[in-house]
């Protein structure tokens, strides 16, 4: 067991997988000599060589498109999109191609790619280095979209993603990279793609979140416990698609109250889907309307400190709504 932060865990897990299986290779911008702009592949070029660590041209569509071709010919490519904000040129390759290759050939071909992308705000990344993109792809059957938020889950889910026979979009909240630390077993293990995880048990209300917001929710829940004795259950979504409705509904069925927190723009966000699911399935078990917290509906997160702070849900804001819901 070793304590690591999130990005170190990404690095070490990729390293282990590269060592374990020579079909695994890395491609992306600056992943080679630079070792990735977040250092997720530092030292890889020296260890694994140019054939397995490809500094690609600055062209996101072909980073994903070439990875698809590699995967269809027996390799297990892990593509890095430097910032999730830059993934849009590859939308066609992900949505029209990767997501449909199994489906459109009735299972004849498959596309086992992993596309990693740092997402999320709170780092003064402004409009083009802060975005949450999970729901663009969560809407597309055929793609798996995962958002692990702790070092333990990052290791287990990255291993699972690389071994998954279907395309996986592996989203890493960049603010958690160095902020969040945790114990990580040294031996290999998998955390399955799909199941959500109860990160804190409680009885009075359920808070559902992922990414940086998960950590804010855990802190808010702890504060509310200490202040008011309220017992909040916190569910970590972990996988946006396919969504684990069972765990979410199980928890809300128990507590009777739900709040869903996501830093993406609120409208049509993941929280909307989760809220709708709860409302459809649990209407008569609910003691209060479902609370949905998200970023405001502005095109993207602004740069200046006060503007960025205004956009991002924070512990105070979450705590306040949590308190109101507990008292409802």
């Amino acid at each position: 067991m070793t304590e690591k932060n999130v990005v170190q865990t990404v690095h070490d897990t990729l390293w282990d997988e590269m060592q374990a299986d020579d079909r695994v290779l890395i491609l992306g911008e600056d992943v080679g000599a630079r070792g990735g702009v977040f250092r997720a592949t530092a030292g890889f070029l020296e260890e694994f060589g140019e054939m397995r660590v490809l500094d690609t041209p600055l062209a996101e569509s072909s980073i994903v498109g070439c990875a698809i071709g590699m995967a269809m010919h027996g390799l297990l490519p892990v593509a890095e999109i430097q910032f999730a904000d830059f993934i849009h040129p590859a939308f066609d390759q992900l949505v029209s191609e990767a997501a449909r290759i199994r489906y459109r050939t009735a299972g004849d071909w498959e596309c086992p790619i992993v596309v990693r992308a740092p997402y999320g705000g709170g780092v003064h990344g402004a409009l083009y280095h802060s975005q949450s993109i999970e729901v663009f792809y969560g809407h597309v059957p055929g793609l798996k979209v995962v958002v692990p938020s702790t070092p333990y889950d990052v290791k287990g889910m990255l291993r699972a993603a690389i071994r998954d026979p279907d395309p996986v979009l592996f989203l890493e909240h960049k603010k958690t990279y160095r902020l969040i630390k945790g114990d990580v077993p040294d031996e290999p293990y998998e955390v399955p793609i799909g199941p959500a995880d109860v990160k804190r048990e409680g009885d009075d209300l359920t808070c559902i979140a992922y990414g940086l917001m998960l950590h804010h929710c855990l802190e808010a829940a702890q504060r509310l416990q200490e202040e008011a004795g309220a017992s909040v259950e916190v569910v970590d979504v972990r996988t946006i698609a396919p969504l684990d409705k069972e765990t979410i509904l199980g928890s809300v069925g128990k507590t009777g109250k739900a709040m869903v927190v996501s830093e993406d723009n609120r409208t049509y966000g993941a929280a909307a889907e989760i809220s709708a699911t709860i409302s459809e399935e649990l209407m008569f078990d609910l003691d209060a309307p479902v609370v949905r917290i998200g970023g405001p509906d502005i095109p993207a997160m602004p740069f200046a400190g006060p503007l960025e702070h205004y956009y991002m849900p924070d512990v105070d804001r979450i705590h306040e709504r949590m308190r109101q819901l507990a008292e409802f």
């Binding site: 072909s62 994903v64 071709g69 010919h73 498959e110 086992p112 026979p165 396919p242």
Partner: protein, 382 residues
């Protein structure tokens, strides 16, 4: 007598290593593509085929360029007009018409895709979509994997002139050039992207000129000259197999029909232009060559046509009577590890049970998921 003399003087086919039988087989495949095309248009007009994509006019450049590939080893990455490529790769008229009718056993997609979206893993034909040029980076990626794995296979990737305007086309050729990958690019330049003429597609005279921008050779070939297509293709494939990197081959060709069965080309090109192109039909040109070579006479040309037409018609009948996909099978094959009944989104808890069963991420990736039975068929009252 004249035939004999001509034959002596024209050693082109022999110099290319093509036997008389090769030439006759190439011709037969061209005729088969043409007759499948005629049949699918007839079926479209009869209301039996909702949508078809014609190949007529492209047979010469398709059969010529695909012929030198090694089946069972090399990889074909075609686009929707490439019936001829797929016939060379091993598809049959039955395969063509199972797709035309959207049947369960359509090898390309089991009736999921429009016809002409070719695919067969067994035949080395890579699945494609309708968005243009998305297959170009796939071809580059496959070629990279070939190089990475130390195989001596070559990828052939075909596309139209319109495809060359897409970003994916540039990105794929650029990647292939950087890594000197074993891939041959074929532009079937028929002068129109649906209705848009070349002059509005590009400011250069030849697509092949663009190869220079990617650091490899570009070649222009007359698309109706089957042996010229074969020769350029063979040279490029040999070079790629020996580690010499990619080649861009531009095939000057023409499509005789509208873009698809839903298009009307009278709005954008004159009948005179189409008729002029038909006079240079590769089938006529090649038949004349074979006649000169003493390999075919008028009777043989006619009997070839009759014989293949009978074969095509018979397979149309078989395909027409083949099983449709069951409606509920629409839910199959979204993921390898989600059972179909859970993919319908109607009930909670459709978490995938993540597999330790993924021996399939394995290199020779084997399809892990082929439910033998179509779910829901039993007890269905439809």
């Amino acid at each position: 007598m004249a035939t004999e003399v001509d034959r002596q003087s024209d050693t082109r086919a022999r110099d290319l290593g093509l036997s008389d039988q090769d030439l006759l087989d190439m011709y037969r495949t061209m005729v088969m593509a043409r007759l499948c095309d005629e049949a699918q248009f007839r079926l479209n007009r009869q209301g039996k085929a909702p949508f078809v994509v014609p190949v007529s006019g492209h047979e010469g450049c398709q059969i010529g360029t695909a012929w030198p590939f090694q089946k069972g080893k090399d990889v074909f990455v075609p686009y929707y007009r490439d019936m001829g490529i797929c016939l060379v790769a091993g598809m049959t008229p039955l395969d063509v018409f199972l797709a035309v009718f959207g049947k369960r056993d359509d090898p390309s997609s089991g009736g999921r895709q429009m016809p002409a979206h070719w695919s067969s893993r067994q035949l080395g034909i890579v699945t494609g979509s309708s968005p243009i040029a998305t297959q170009i980076p796939h071809a580059a990626g496959i070629a990279y994997a070939i190089k990475y794995r130390g195989e001596d296979a070559v990828v052939g990737s075909w596309f139209g002139d319109g495809a060359t305007s897409e970003g994916d086309w540039h990105e794929g050729l650029n990647f292939a050039g950087i890594h000197r990958l074993p891939v041959v690019w074929y532009c079937e330049n028929n002068r129109y992207a649906i209705s848009v003429p070349l002059s509005k597609q590009m400011a250069v005279k030849d697509v092949a000129m663009r190869a220079e921008g990617y650091g490899f050779e570009g070649v222009v070939v007359e698309g109706n000259d089957v042996l010229g297509c074969y020769e350029a293709s063979k040279n490029a494939i040999d070079k790629a197999r020996e580690g010499g990197g990619p080649t861009l081959i531009e095939l000057k060709t023409y499509r005789f029909h509208p873009h698809t069965s839903d298009d009307d080309d009278r709005s954008y090109r004159s009948r005179e232009e189409v008729e002029e192109a038909k006079r240079n039909d590769s089938l006529i040109v090649f038949a004349n060559y074979l006649r000169q070579q003493g390999l075919l006479d008028d009777d043989a040309i006619e009997s070839t046509r009759v014989e293949i037409k009978a074969e095509v018609d018979a397979e149309v009948e078989v395909a027409w009577k083949a099983e449709d996909p069951s409606p509920e099978s629409a839910l199959d094959h979204v993921f390898a590890d989600v059972t179909p009944s859970r993919a319908d989104g109607s009930s909670g808890g459709d978490t995938n049970v993540k597999a330790d069963a993924i021996g399939t991420t394995g290199g020779e990736a084997t399809p892990a998921d082929s439910p033998e039975e179509a779910p829901g068929e039993e007890g269905s009252d439809r």
